[in-house]
Symmetry: D2
Subunit: 339 residues, 4 copies
């Protein structure tokens, strides 16, 4: 009954097996090894993006901040949702890697930006030397509210960016959950919709600490490599990141694992709804924000459940529950049984 | 016969075993897990530094750059050897993390700084608003030339820094090799000698990508944690870094592994010397710079050996050979047999 | 009838005379000249702050950004009003000079922050390593809406900052107008109220381009000097900045000039009010935001008036009018005659 | 007998007159005024560069650092002479404005780089992700040793940069002295030789604190404007910088003033040589480094002379003497009479 975060879970045995298998003989260093090349190929294939450049880093914050820095100048504004991880959970990493860009945090119901809000924010920014300039747009899918952007919604937002000549980044720390939940093609959720750079998450989906950064246009590859090295994010033993990512990508496991997490969230949501419990946000992937009666959290914790509290409207309590590849039906049912 | 770098080797089976063992159940995230706490305790014990703060990161460049940033202001000069990794191999990471400090790269035979050179450089820096100011000193042990600083030599250099009120960083990417080769107590090579911050290497000594940063004075802990997060170097699943580091620290394995690497280098050096081959630098740890006849490198490579070429005096060829925990006597002997 | 900005006006003849007078003989450079020393003494006297350190720079943006950088770390949040010059009119200079701090722009009627808003923003920031941390508070007096903070209001806001252990910056680009309008002692509007750093404006009050930065605690002096030099803001010929500032400070001219600007704004406000015209914000210093009928701006411009348009509620037009030391009663009356 | 620096002198009366003349009526702000436009035209004319963009800033450090930042990325190396102002006298301003570029300071007799030294330094830099990359070349004319680059020498150095696809910056804090001394066309000393960005000095040649930055290719104009604003170097009252610069450019005064300074240096050099005094560097413009007998400096100072001491070979004393537009023959002769 551990629902604090999808990064609290262990890793699937396939990941350990892949590490063991990769652990033979000598390899070239710094991401020039064969396993890294295989990951890159595999991810290009999954994304139907044969020209894309793919890099592995160790954390989602690194992936996001490096991706943003590849596009947004120091005097640029990054338009994002006010709940975005880059805006509230990275201790200013985007500002650090971009050398001072300004995050413009926009409201939007259930963690989602709307084209109108985005358009208005862009058009009221820049245009003279006194203001920061329009820099780029960063979306998050699955959103921090546990909701989704469909391919069509992504394209609508990217079109607003495009109209202002702005590149688009997608924070896909839970991209697998988004792909599994929407059933959309990875390409349709990214480059075909107008996304230029993707943080493709592995850690929350079962890896020890591996994320991919994908640039759909290879022109920025070399600059990215320099920024990555300079940021201390180039691993000498690339094979151990690659082996994990490959274990996740092979055989569609990335979707299987994320799909399982989503299914467990759905089971939990149904169970809670059956108990008359509502939600702050629609449950669309693997994160739930139940809205329950005061006192509930304490009772659940006394029963052994772990999760984070969330601010709630007066007279309610709220929490954040996250499921993962490791969540079992038994976990869910035991949690529900606490009510 | 793979001598390109100690980071080209696989990891010992104990590391994989530790990962497997760590892979059970849920844990708290972001370095607040029990395994991380155990690593911290163990390293404090090894360093006889009960007050020290210990952090795990994924790369040596991150460890170095974050350690420097913790002490050196943007307008500071970092005094280091001209071969130092921070000066030539990190694509400006120290400049990035310190927000623009200037690396003052000093000469010194066999990769070692002397107190006189250091003192002269410090005294000719700073003192008025037009120059960058004296910031800190960074030493490397094992040096990039494969040589060592004894505890006494470290203390002599740190005393020069201290006299100018400058903090001292030690890049110990191969600290285990230095400790094994000198036989000195870790404390004598670090804080007792006057070192304030230590990059304690794991990756070159057999881990997948784990380094520790140690600050002997805990006053800078919180600032470091913010810099680490902001740099994208805080891993959510800390246990997988900690498990590896712990596997290396338990039972003195860190010294055993490094000692083995040193012994293989010594065996190689003896074998080469017996063939009449000299060296650019004394062989004191696990790196060799043989100076051999033109054409040798090509012949060795044809025989299956791998290593990097190095600039050499006219009429010679040179190379860099690095041994590791994984180098076997058979590797060494097969290499020597190629002559 | 030129009301675009107080920086569009020429400078009083006393400023030119002071430059001419200063233009004799050789002087020491880089702010170590006698005139600079006299300015520093004079400003300390005016502020009743004998320990304060005083520096001259060329622009208000430099003054603000350097003052903020002296207090706020790269991972800090600067709490300010959403109209603050540092937030919207400096192209990210604060982010540049602080190496990436985040400006938290807060709402507040008529350009003024309230203690409650400030307290809430501070308390919802920081506290864990994932967020940016509480950095400092920056107030503006005269505000960008042309309103004032009294000494008591300043102290109330500074007390909120103080309670969270945060330093306070005051952007006083129009500090003279605030002092003249409130009649408060400069000390009561600054350090006695809890202000740590003051940008003391000269340019908008009649100088060619000279601002003072005042730190009430001299402990940060040397760091400031390094930041100033590093930012390219240390002038070799300090006498020409000092002479101007001194001309403004001597004989209370700084208050006379600003008081005149305020009086002209009051005359204008009365005239407009008599015409039935209201204002977006109370007219308290030298900036007016009239709210007039659609078509008015075009008519006034046709008559020769110059000013900026401002966003207005539906069915209205608004503008920003700024008076200065150079505005004459005739200017005001001619403008009013256009109605 | 004040020879400490050309920035210790007052300004010519034409500069004060121009300020007075400019001080009428209202103007547009932030460098969009008519006087600024006239300066830009005039400088384009002087440089025979009709497409060039021209900006005014207040200090030479700002001019240099902004110019470098316009071309060199954070991971770039700036190749310059080891005496260059950017390397030793700007407290790290280039590192600050470029966000961390590395200055590669090269030796060279009498303050001059040679093509061979430059070529060797460039070719040993960059090429893989571990090193900083080749960024740009920065030359200084008049050099810090008081020597000159001819148009041909400038072109030879720029050709080396060009061959490596590197842009070239010229620090022309004393460009007027170089132009006057060489008699070369400004275009031949700059863009025709291959210079991309010029810091065109005004302050050392008689202005209060005005420098121009010239980019010969207008493509970088907008980025420069943002960097300038963000650096706090955009003056609201542009007319007062422009008026001064215009006063210096009109009627060839920039060459007259600098030529006078050069002539006074020549007179001084001849006088000293006649006394049997040698020089550390050839006297080619307005800076002299006499090499005289121990005790001389004290004697001269006792006689009322002011200058800086310089390091000298054993058994000698050295000094730096700088002449300016304001140095008179009487000053020179009085100084010589002290011997």
């Amino acid at each position: 009954m551990f629902f604090t975060s999808d990064n609290a879970a262990p890793v699937p045995r396939e990941v350990l097996a892949a590490l063991a298998e990769a652990n033979t003989g000598y390899t070239r260093g710094y991401g020039t090894d064969d396993l890294t090349a295989r990951v890159q190929d595999r991810l290009r294939e999954i994304l139907a993006a044969p020209e894309a450049v793919v890099y592995l880093v160790g954390t989602g914050t690194a992936a996001n901040a490096l991706a943003l820095a590849g596009f947004c100048p120091p005097w640029g504004a990054v338009f994002c949702h006010e709940l975005a991880h880059i805006a509230v959970d990275e201790c200013g990493a985007p500002e650090f890697f971009t050398h001072g860009a300004k995050l413009v945090a926009l409201p939007g119901a259930h963690g989602r930006l709307t084209p109108d809000t985005l358009r208005a924010a862009i058009s009221s920014t820049g245009g003279n030397v006194h203001n920061v300039q329009r820099g780029m747009v960063s979306l998050t899918n699955v959103t921090e509210a546990g909701t989704l952007y469909s391919a069509v919604e992504t394209a609508a937002l990217a079109a607003v960016a495009r109209a202002a000549d702005l590149p688009v980044h997608l924070d896909g720390a839970r991209f697998a959950n988004a792909a599994a939940a929407t059933g959309a093609l990875p390409a349709d959720l990214t480059w075909r919709a107008g996304v230029d750079a993707l943080s493709f998450g592995g850690t929350k989906n079962g890896l020890m600490g591996v994320e991919a950064v994908v640039f759909f246009d290879p022109a920025k590859a070399w600059e990215f490599e320099l920024r990555r090295k300079r940021g201390g994010h180039l691993f000498s033993k690339g094979r151990y990141l690659a082996a994990q990512m490959l274990a996740m990508l092979e055989g569609g496991r990335w979707l299987t694992w994320a799909g399982h997490a989503n299914a467990m969230a759905a089971r939990l949501a149904e169970g809670l709804a059956a108990l008359g419990i509502g939600f702050l946000h629609p449950v669309e992937a693997n994160i739930l924000f139940p809205l329950w009666a005061p006192g509930t959290a304490a009772r659940l914790r006394a029963g052994g459940a772990a999760f984070y509290d969330m601010p709630a409207p007066l007279g309610h309590e709220s929490a954040r529950l996250v499921t993962s590849w490791a969540t079992s039906e038994a976990d869910v049912d035991a949690f529900l049984a606490l009510f």
